[in-house]
Symmetry: C2
């Protein structure tokens, strides 16, 4: 009696669940947005995840429904629950990954540290926040942002007028989120997995390096991190996971300040780019762990396999030579590098794969990973 | 332009190529013997691998053809080559994995050490071999044996009369292989991968523990192995790979004697049970390596990720509780154990999965692996 997990969304996160599903003996089925996506090998349906009948038909034959992304609408999720489908993470948790204002309210309610923030409905309110926060701030659209989209640094009350206008137009009213511009030293990510039964395991805290609003590099564990700061990051992620009732993987992106404070930036309720290092660098990868968690199976060991693992994202762009040729060249020069390809056509700035390198000397590992990834970049 | 690899055979070896194929960005297609086999997720065709038209139709849409097993007949392989299909390993190499007499002749020609052996066509010839080898020997059918089938220890000239009779009946004439009963200390396995271009890499030499003619446990690397014995095992495997022109993975099973000799027992031109430890214990798994080799891509690092990795096979039998329940119990008690399931219905003696455990203390690793596997055994 093979257990069946259904994944809504056919992107690379669904794709990277295929390998552990096969090894665990779990049947994986994917509802892809279109044919030929990253997770096409496991795609048993193609359709719109916003359409209840499409998702309902897909969910009918699976034991558990989970996600490649957090965009399935609440009404669809709640209709599935009403049908008796096991949905993990569930809508009560997912709302905080879908709406950044709801997230800020929840983090405040949980008493966990975060940047100063406010809900602002117009330029006047934004101006008031700016006036009390050094005349600079970050404005975010509560919904739909990712990889730096829907995020803007502002210095004047009128800098978000286009977004306010768009909100007014879409008729739902609504407001923007404004946050203080945190003077952080670096960015960390803390990942935990939580089962429906409540069992929770935490991964080593990592450092994420962003370039242009996109995760470029992850160092696991974060180098030179004071144990009490790592513990605080894990405490925050654990608090969020239990506090919102996440099932599956949770990644909490954090700002670490020079004074040792750790503040919640954002979170994601699924495998996350900050955890791709675990595929080769941890006993249990985040993709295997997510499957175990959503299936309510015992969770796996989160220990690192090596002192250091560095992950570098490969962004597609206009490059000379095909991706396959570059892949072969990277493999030839770096036999220890683990290149993970997403099966996506390259486009400028699009994540098409990543490289993991593990070892005992951080400088060597970083240099090796960067050199291997450089074959893909012009 | 995604590279496509076609695998003939839908067993667990094909199944375990799926995970690295996905991560490498290689499209994998499987010709399965029947629906619902281990590698069903990647099965794009079902049919008889002995039928040239079936295999030809399957091979039409792939860039490289490789195998889950060595049983595709020579005439089928040669017809594919004539069609222009890239077949790896090719028929010239595969013949030595298909016919144990051809293998013994080839190893002799290559000047590599092996047990005394003879081709015997009748009881008289077998009697003569027994008389000069202490009255005990091992008789093998040259074709079709695996996991202890087609292998028999004999003490009398008439002990193989039924096999001689069967050979006479099948009309191909043919003879049996008889080998001296080697008084070995333990069994080793040496694995190498070789590309069509000739590049070759070797894995650490492992110890294999057989029970009832079936591989039960693998310790990687073989404990307390003298460096010169390990080097000799690797020299033999390298000599076989270049000597027969293998492309892909080659596993050479070896007898190690108390006096330090190493003798060729058998070999397999595909990923092999003795290399399942590499999935979690080596930088590049044998399944990834096989794909890289047959696609003529640069080979990966064969280094171990941990000082010790122990693999234990899970054999299905009449057990209390479902396989899923046992799996969950094993995971709960051993969060560091990596359980690999083959998606096969349990039957007595049938390999349905395996467990890998890695660590720095061999006794602890062996005990942990055995304890995790014990959940599956009565």
């Amino acid at each position: 009696m093979t257990v069946r997990v259904g994944v809504v969304g056919g992107g690379q996160l669904a794709r990277m669940m295929i390998a552990p599903a096969v090894e665990l003996g779990v049947e994986i089925r994917v509802l892809a947005e279109e044919p030929g996506m990253s997770a096409a090998l496991a795609a048993t349906a193609v359709g719109d995840y916003r359409d209840i009948e499409t998702v309902r038909a897909f969910a009918k034959d699976v034991d558990v429904l989970t996600f490649d992304h957090e965009h399935v609408p609440q009404d669809v999720l709640r209709a599935l629950i009403a049908d008796g489908v096991a949905v993990h993470p569930g809508p009560d948790a997912l709302q905080y990954a879908q709406d950044k204002l709801a997230m800020r309210r929840k983090v405040a309610e949980l008493g966990l540290p975060q940047p100063d923030w406010a809900e602002v409905a117009d330029a006047e309110a934004l101006g008031a926040f700016l006036a009390s926060h050094g005349s600079r701030a970050v404005v975010k659209t509560p919904r739909g942002g990712y990889d730096g989209k829907g995020v803007r640094v502002v210095g004047a009350a009128t800098d978000a007028d286009d977004w306010f206008a768009a909100l007014a137009e879409d008729g739902r009213g609504g407001a923007l989120l404004v946050e203080e511009l945190v003077d952080f030293d670096r960015e960390l990510a803390a990942q935990v997995a939580r089962r429906p039964s409540g069992e929770l395991v935490a991964y080593p805290v990592v450092e994420t390096v962003q370039r242009g609003g996109v995760c470029a590099e992850v160092v696991a564990p974060a180098a030179g991190l004071a144990p009490e700061v790592a513990a605080e990051a894990t405490r925050i992620a654990t608090g969020v996971a239990h506090g919102v009732g996440v099932t599956g993987m949770l990644a909490v992106e954090l700002f670490a300040t020079a004074s040792g404070r750790v503040l919640v930036n954002e979170f994601a309720m699924r495998p996350h780019n900050s955890g791709h290092w675990t595929q080769d660098g941890a006993v249990t990868s985040q993709f295997e762990q997510h499957l175990r968690a959503v299936l309510d199976l015992p969770l796996g060991d989160t220990a690192a396999r090596a002192p250091w693992t560095v992950m570098i994202n490969v962004l597609g762009g206009p490059v000379a030579g095909s991706l396959d040729e570059r892949f072969a060249a990277a493999m030839a020069a770096h036999p220890d590098a683990k290149v993970h390809a997403y099966g996506k056509a390259p486009r400028p700035g699009r994540k098409v794969g990543h490289v993991n390198v593990s070892g005992s000397d951080l400088d060597a590992v970083r240099a090796d990973a960067a050199a291997a990834a450089s074959f893909f970049l012009d």
